[in-house]
Amino acid sequence: MTIVIDALQYLGYVLIFPGFLFCFLAGMLLCGIDRKLVAKMQKRVGPPILQPFYDFFKLCGKETIIPAAAERNTFMLSPLVGLAALVVIQLFIPVFGFTAFSGIGDIIVILYLLLVPALAMILGGAASGSPYAGVGLSREMVTIISCELPLVLVLLAVAKTVGGAIGTGLCFSLSQIAEYQEVNGSLITKISMLPAAAAMLLLIPGETGSHPFDAAEAETEICEGLLAEYSGAPLGVFKLSHAVKMLSLTSLFVALFLGGLGTGILALDAVLLFLLCALITAASISFVHAFTARLKIEQIFKYYWTVVSLLAAVSLALAWYGL
């Protein structure tokens, strides 16, 4: 009997919170808030906050054309796999004190899982056979490489700080990081973590492929690159994935640097998480979007491997010497 209840509970985690339903609603709302804020900052009225939902449902109602040159199975499956991987990432990231599946993964796993949605998109695009997708794939991969170094440095800095504090030397487990923050307050209050947090904020638009780091999906030059041949529902799923990725990265930020703010009541925590995510989205994605123009791919690479990596490296060095 308990097994059944456990199974139902886990199914609830996967399907409702913090899984599929939460990802869908919160991610789409974040996306809507982002669009609205960018519009506001550009002195526009902007779309309604629910616009991403409209877009998604509209796309679901459209015809899906599979080009004759495409490899059909990969083309149709990769959006679903990408979305599933994102939902799973969301399941690993603790919501303050609460973790749905703490015993499965850690920050290295998150680091790799973040590659999976991008990889799904790359393979889907490659399977479509479009030359635009080829260019998009190349750029997407370079963006991933660009973001990897600073992200690794940030995560290692966090691992060292928490590990040093709890006495195990290093700590890769997200639930331990969350626990540590429950007891000792948010990591962002530490001086050594400030550069890392700044680096992470700068990383979020790169990882999500938002403006100005959206060279991979530049709709005006390479017809949205990897997505050039997608239409209808699979495209909608990719758009949804993009929204969920925003949620994942912002809630990863919350989990790494703003833990310990939770109230202990799950429903309140969920709302708090969403509000914090929205705040981070506003600061890191919308704000940067509003006043920058798209960077060239080699500029993206240079930027991440110099400025952002330096910030993260400073943080790691500070953490290393126990500041």
Binding site: I66, A68, V142, G169, I297
Partner: protein, 638 residues
């Protein structure tokens, strides 16, 4: 009856495993005129070798026994080992198992892969000779015997590299391999001779007993020679260009052995000399040497791979890069590190074997491995593509495949080492390893786009899927990749941890052969605790549930009013969008991918390009310089 029981005793299995391969080789040379005879003989011998090695699992792994076997029952007399010995501890068994599995799968693959070549008889003779050489080397308990086996495998490998001598560059590659390989072999021979002069024995266990107690300039020189010699066999930097040329020319089934197994025998040799013969891994400088060379191999070769546009050359560079991981992890000298390194060694054999076989399948069907000439094969070779993707995901460390599990352990091992020793250099290793991993992913994205996805070039319109025999060989590797990825606990518990324990228990190794092991340096292995958690089965379950849920929602919401082209003629609607132009063949070449990255690193790539001149004299010079540097290092620092 007793006699039969004696013959079938597992004590004899190591020599049976070696002999099965050599015997197969000789029999094929003698009677292999007919194809069926040849195939049966080859299959029999690889299967027998696999069977004998698997049968050793129970005594060696479960009972923790170390099999010591004196050829001709010539036990040591007067305290000195005279006879030739085989000694199989968990480490030897571990490598022997890798060899047996790779040899078996590659043998199965060869039968249909080689059917378009002439001289199949010679191929099998050399192939089994190569396999037997590797098997003999990892099971040997005698340093000189190891040298003999190294010579056998080197010459077989050289001959097999030049086997397809109609292929451009094959003979040249073989020549390069011959020159530098012989330099390596000579190093091993001279090192062995020096050690023999110093300790009057060639038995590994006895050397391990005597050598560390008597460290002088001569043994230091011997160490440098042996290290460089085995380094040549592992193709670690600066010997990596040889591997690229050799793999580019050799048949894929041979590449599997060279990359998956032969390089491992080099690693095995390095472990034996560093951990056992000299027992010097406790020294920081020694760890530095291994980790430095490992990290260098890892990083240099992955960037070299990114610049390649030939499928097999790219794989060759990756195999050195992965060997770099193994060497780095082994060089960390912690229980977790060695375990992680050995785990990665298994994984590397499996996924690199799979990838080479996939490359072979592509070559077999299309006749080329040039990334700029291929494309869109996923529609023609769906199974090969799926199997290749398993290998590509594994090598790039995408969870839940096996590459991830071992890399995860390597990151933790190196970072833990950094934290514990307070040495920021090891931290750098963690970062390099992580970056290398993502660059690996990048180059496999390149391969999958340029070979399997993208557009089908018009001249490849008649390509067919490869035969079931080749597919099933790839399938075995893919299955093993998934199993070792999904059950890392089983792999570590039954394969890598016993082997790692053997590495840290030199005393047992010495005493099993009847020598006095009391003086052996006991390294503090220490238990280990994972700093994080990784549970692939649960992960997969969660992913499946999520995928299922999404699929159900998608199906309920009519995932796409799908319309696709059914007529042979492609209507406008189903053509690719070319800015309105009519669809034509257009594929982004493998060289042109990742421009932004290469542009920023153009100085580095230019430098690398100048360095890899392709001239054998240069490579020989590198070998000499490397030897000089390692000698200096070992004389001054160690």
């Amino acid at each position: 009856m007793n006699m039969l029981g004696n013959i079938l005793s597992y004590q004899h299995f190591p020599i049976y495993a070696i002999m099965a391969l050599f015997l197969g080789s000789f029999l094929i040379a003698a009677f292999g005129e007919k194809r069926s005879v040849r195939n049966i003989l080859a299959l029999l011998s690889v299967t027998a070798a696999l069977g004998f090695i698997l049968a050793l699992m129970k005594p060696v792994v479960f009972h923790g026994e170390i099999i010591s076997y004196w050829m001709g029952a010539r036990e040591p007399a007067g305290g000195y080992a005279i006879g030739i010995a085989l000694e199989v501890d968990a480490l030897s068994f571990f490598f022997a198992l890798l060899v047996a599995v790779a040899v078996f799968v590659s043998g199965v693959y060869s039968i249909q892969y080689m059917n378009r070549d002439d001289n199949e008889k010679e191929y099998y003779t050399l192939y089994l000779l190569l396999c037997g050489g590797v098997m003999g080397m990892v099971l040997s308990g005698d340093l000189f015997n190891m040298f003999i086996m190294v010579e056998i495998l080197t010459f077989a490998a050289v001959a097999l590299t030049a086997f397809r001598n109609t292929v451009r560059g094959a003979v040249e590659a073989a020549f390069k391999y011959l020159v530098v390989g012989c330099m390596g072999s000579t190093c091993i021979l001279v090192g062995t001779a020096i050690l023999y002069a110093q300790t009057h024995t060639l038995n590994l266990a006895q050397l391990a007993q005597l050598a560390p107690g008597d460290v002088n300039t001569a043994t230091r020189l011997a160490f440098a020679l042996l290290f460089v010699g085995f380094g040549t066999k592992a193709f670690i930097v600066p010997f990596h260009p040889l591997a690229a040329d050799a793999h580019g020319a050799a048949p894929a089934s041979v590449s599997v052995i060279i990359s998956g197994v032969l390089t491992k025998s080099g690693i095995y040799g390095i472990i034996r000399i560093c951990y056992f013969l000299f027992q010097s891994m406790g020294l920081g400088a020694m760890q530095f040497l291994l980790v430095f060379i490992g990290s260098l191999s890892m990083f240099v070769c992955v960037t070299m791979a990114l610049a390649q546009h030939d499928f097999k050359r790219l794989l060759a560079f990756h195999s050195i890069s992965q060997i770099g991981y193994v060497l780095t992890a082994v060089g960390l000298c912690t229980a977790l590190g060695v375990s992680a390194g050995l785990y990665h060694a298994i994984n590397h054999t499996l996924f690199k074997g799979l990838l080479f076989l996939a490359a072979g399948a592509v070559l077999h069907e299309t006749g080329t491995t040039d990334l700029n000439k291929l494309g869109g094969l996923a529609k023609k070779m769906p199974h090969t593509t799926a199997l290749f993707m398993v290998g590509a995901f594994s090598i790039s460390g995408v969870p839940p495949f096996n590459g991830f599990a071992s890399k995860w352990m390597i990151y933790q091992a190196s970072y833990q080492k950094a934290v514990e020793s307070g040495n920021i250099g090891f931290l750098l290793v963690t970062i390099i390893a992580l970056i290398t991993s993502v660059l690996t992913l990048a180059s496999f994205v390149k391969v999958s786009h340029s070979v399997f996805f993208g557009q089908l070039p018009p001249e490849l319109a008649n390509v067919k899927e490869v035969s079931w025999g080749m597919r099933s060989a790839m399938g075995i590797f893919a299955l093993l990749c998934i199993i070792t990825g999904l059950f890392p606990n089983l792999v570590t518990a039954y394969l890598t941890e016993p082997a790692a324990a053997a590495v840290f228990n030199v005393k047992n190794y010495i005493e099993a052969m009847g020598f006095d092991g009391s003086a052996a340096v006991q390294l503090e292995a220490g238990g280990f605790q994972h700093a994080g958690v990784w549970d692939p089965v649960s992960w997969l379950l969660v992913l499946c549930i999520a995928l299922l849920a999404i699929t159900i929602v998608a199906v309920a919401g009519k995932y796409g009013n799908v319309s696709r082209c059914r007529a042979p003629a492609v209507e406008n609607k189903y053509q690719l969008f070319y800015g309105g132009e009519e669809q034509e063949f257009s594929q982004l070449g493998g060289e042109d991918l990742f421009w932004g990255f290469k542009h920023n690193w153009r100085g580095y790539f230019k430098f690398m390009h100048r360095l890899h001149s392709g001239v054998v004299n240069d490579y020989a010079l590198w070998a000499v310089v490397d030897l000089a540097l390692v000698t200096l290092f070992s004389l001054i620092v160690l």
